[in-house]
């Protein structure tokens, strides 16, 4: 009897240690990345960093203001396109996704969700950049919107599915027309989940690089029109981190630090939103 109990205790301790060590190993890279980004990034931060153009490569003056501006424009425009389409697609999947005729649509959304974002970049390059004969902010925003739509559609669908059917039924029993019931009763009951999905999608596209390389190219100047190339934080990191000039690499670290803060802020927003429920 005693030996059995001892054996169980040993097993238990061993498994606990194993799980604990695995967790440590898993989070070491994460924390070392965060540590490196903060350590190197913080040195790059000053007022000029936020308000100046990058200037010529290799010069230690200037900032990344046009990349900040570009990311804001791209993400805003992508959200204007992507959020309504994503939410409406989610509503469709919730309402009709289980029927046979929509198998193709729900399958497509799944596929789009798993599509490597570089493929989205190539697609927009062929359909928008090539015919327009120019890299453009519009093409970049379109590519980001395409990345965004399946994320929002799926989170919207899931949030709607979590609303008890009795809620929808109670709305219908009040004589509310079906579409109003879906939007003002069911979607309204699921709004925290839907908003979280939108914030997560915004966080995701803020950090996207691949689709932008092939669509808006990057630029050293301020935003000059929807049909012109535009810079973004991720594009700036991608180009500057590979330069031999220490000043360029420093700007890349600074931009990475900024992105990290944005990601942190958006995730905290989601977390506080989740607790509001």
């Amino acid at each position: 009897m005693i030996s059995l109990r001892v054996k169980k205790k040993v097993q238990n301790t061993f498994l606990f240690l194993f799980a604990f060590l695995s967790t440590i190993i898993a989070i070491i890279p994460l924390f070392s990345i965060i540590f490196e980004v903060i350590k190197n990034g913080i040195e790059a931060i000053n007022l000029d960093f936020f308000i100046q153009l990058p200037g010529p490569l290799g010069e230690s003056i200037g900032g990344i203001a046009n990349a900040i501006q570009g990311t804001l424009i791209l993400v805003t425009l992508a959200s204007i396109i992507g959020v309504p389409i994503g939410v409406i697609t989610g509503i469709y999947l919730y309402e009709y996704g289980k029927e046979k005729k929509s198998t193709l649509i729900s399958f497509s959304v799944d596929l789009l969700y798993d599509l490597p974002s570089i493929v989205v970049g190539i697609f927009v390059y062929i359909t928008v950049v090539s015919p327009m004969r120019s890299f453009s902010a519009l093409a970049g925003a379109l590519a980001l919107a395409i990345v965004m739509i399946p994320i929002i559609a799926k989170t919207t669908e899931e949030s709607l599915t979590l609303v008890p059917p009795t809620i929808s039924e109670a709305g219908i029993a009040l004589g509310i027309p079906k579409w109003k019931n879906i939007i003002f009763i069911v979607l309204n009951s699921a709004k925290n989940g839907v908003l979280n999905g939108i914030v997560l999608a915004v966080a995701r596209i803020t950090g996207e690089t691949a689709p932008l390389i092939m669509t808006c190219l990057g630029s050293n100047f301020w935003f000059s029109g929807m049909d012109k190339p535009i810079n973004s934080l991720t594009l700036l990191i991608w180009r500057y981190a590979m330069q031999p000039y220490p000043s360029a690499v420093k700007k890349a670290w600074g931009a990475a630090f900024l992105l990290l803060l944005v990601a942190l802020a958006l995730n905290l927003l989601v977390k506080s939103g989740g607790e509001r429920k």
Binding site: E169, I172, A173, I176, N188
Partner: protein, 250 residues
């Protein structure tokens, strides 16, 4: 007594399974009619056929007529039918993201039935009728989910009353509640019968005996017996009714 709702030869199927068989029933106006019977006998299915809630379920098929003031509800606009025939469910389902005020106002608002200025009056009147006004008048903007379950059920009654329906259908409205809340709702139902025609589905025979004027006993999808409540409980005509009310089948 005038008949408010007349159900004629009503049959309901879910897929191929028939749940309601040839039901005929005359529901008198401004009275409480209870529908009793063992669970699974089709009480709730019958109730839902009256305000066309089965329309939502693709597998459900309804045949027969439900006449409201002589007009078949299955030939009218279902939205108008549901406004005239309100429904209160077993579990209180306030809309979780809305305040108490919004919960009561939402049906009127989304149906474009009243202007903003009138909404406040409608909400107050409905909450008063549901005997909830005194408890919530100072917290109208609080979330509806902060209320107790019993209060939530009275809130859903107020929400239904806001649309000024003619008929109230209640599907076991007290079975999720504690005895004190149950008593309050029962008193409320009795008060409401002066203005409304009420159909209450209940598995609690004593409740039917306490509050209803008429009682229908359902068994295996059929209405076995329908009579004044006192008469049905005192002198059941069918053997199976007697067995049920004496607790020999459940």
């Amino acid at each position: 007594m005038k008949t408010k709702i007349e159900i004629r030869n009503l049959n309901v199927w879910f897929n191929k399974r028939q749940v309601i068989y040839d039901v005929n029933l005359k529901v008198p106006e401004q009275a409480i009619t209870a529908v009793i019977g063992p669970s699974g006998c089709g009480k709730s299915t019958l109730l839902r056929a009256i305000n066309r809630l089965h329309d939502l379920i693709p597998e459900a098929k309804v045949k027969g007529e439900v006449l409201l003031d002589g007009k078949d509800v299955y030939k009218e606009d279902p939205l108008v039918v549901r406004r005239k025939i309100g429904m209160v469910f077993q579990k209180p389902v306030p809309f979780p993201s809305m305040s108490i005020f919004e919960n009561v106002a939402i049906g009127v608002k989304l149906n474009d039935l009243a202007k903003k200025e009138r909404l406040e009056k409608i909400v107050e009147r409905s909450l008063r009728m549901a005997a909830l006004w005194e408890e919530v008048k100072d917290i109208l903007e609080s979330p509806a989910t902060s209320l107790s379950v019993g209060q939530q059920q009275r809130l859903t009654i107020a929400r239904t009353l806001a649309l000024e329906p003619e008929v109230l259908l209640m599907d076991e409205p007290t079975s999720a509640l504690d005895p004190v809340s149950m008593k309050k709702i029962e008193e409320l139902i009795v008060n409401l019968k002066n203005d409304y025609t009420i159909v209450v589905v209940t598995h609690d025979m004593r409740q039917a005996a306490r509050i209803s004027d008429f009682t229908a006993f359902m068994y295996e999808g059929k209405i076995i017996e329908f009579n004044e409540t006192s008469e049905l409980f005192r002198n059941p005509k069918e053997e199976i009714t007697e067995k049920y009310i004496t607790g020999r089948i459940s």
